[in-house]
Structures are given as structure tokens and as C-alpha cells.
Amino acid sequence: MNILYFASIREKIGRAEEDVSPPPAVTDVGKLIEWLKRRGPDYELALGDMRAVRVAVNQEHVRLDHPVHAGDEIALFPPVTGG
């Protein structure tokens, strides 16, 4: 699945986008984030405070229990600040 990072989360992780293949146990957004946080301190820093993380799956805002599948476009970003 393709993961996009935006704004401060993108800066902390150090990349805008990556393709990942999590294990089959990663079935929803919450589990995906827990899995990502174990990839290193940058991920832990970027995703540690879940109150400041928002998620979109295939460009729709979703909650942590939303399922994820191979082929999904998953975006992680801080709360929007508007234009």
C-alpha cells in the first residue's frame, strides 16, 4: 500500500511517500500506525501523539478502525489549518 505523509508529519518522517507491505495482521488504520511506529524513532516522533494525527484512506477521512488493504492510498497528516 502507498502511504503519503504531509506537513509536520512528512518533515519528521523525512519523506513524502513510501510503498509498504505490512504483515497480514495489519488490518486497520490503527494497527497500521502501530506497525509504522516500530519502524524507527522518526516514525515514533511523528505518530506518537495520535490526537495530532488524521488519516485518509483513498482520499476519504476515516477513523482508526477503518480497514486497510493492499493497493490503498493511505495519507497521514496533522489536523488541517485551513487556507
Binding site: F77, P78, T81, G82
Partner: protein, 150 residues
Amino acid sequence: MGVRVQREDFDIGAEIAHVSKEGKDVGGIASFVGVVRGGEGPDAISAMTLEHYPGMTEKELGRIEAEALARWPISASLIVHRYGRLVPGDNIVLVVTASRHRRAAFEACEFLVDWLKTKAPFWKNEEASDGERWVAAHGDDDEAAARWNK
């Protein structure tokens, strides 16, 4: 009806004229231009950069516009939102609503602007004399947008 997200500036007069001609039986066109505030003192910013989520932004703006069209009798409308690095005085966003009645045009325009300021997927990074920082989402604007849910 239309939504555009672009790096380039927009031509306010040309956009308003276009919306006015597009609409049927238009009596009034309300519009709003948001610009980068300069200001003075320690809070003054020297530039800001708007980051967005290409594709999703346009979808969300399209939904907002559809909601406005469902709530008010609007005969034509336009949202143009810029992204990228902007300096004080630069245009950020243009909202135009045309209607037979001025009240509908004003209300729909203000509704869209309130929504854009809180719900549109943009992230703002401000540059000031003491460095740059990502702006945190704040409550005032949410309150303004909440007016419309009453």
C-alpha cells in the same frame, strides 16, 4: 460551478465576470478574497507556505461547493485556492457566488469561506524572524464554521 487549486495567482475581475455570465438570472455576485496578512511586531510573518493533498483537496472543495448549492439558491459559483509559498499581500483564496438574491449570495459565500478556513485540507507553515513553524489548528475558526450547523 467550479473548484481550482493552483500555485498561480488569479485574476479576480476576470473570475467574477465569468461567474456572473455563467449564472442564469443573476442579480448579485458576492465574493471574498483572502490575502496573506503582514502586520508588524514580533508576530509578523515574512512568508507562509500552504501544503495540500492534491486530488483530495479538489474533492473536498467540490463537496463544500455542492453543499452550498444545496442550501442556497445559487446560480453560479467558484472557489480558487492557491498553494505554495506566499508573502504578505499575496492572494490566497477567492470565493465567488452569484444569485438572483443578494442575501443568498452573501450567505453562501460566507459559509464557503468559513468552511475553507477550517476544513479544507491545507497545512500552513509560517516564516517569521525567529524561524519557521507549522501552524496548529485553532478554535476560533471552528466556531465560525459551527455557526452553520445550528
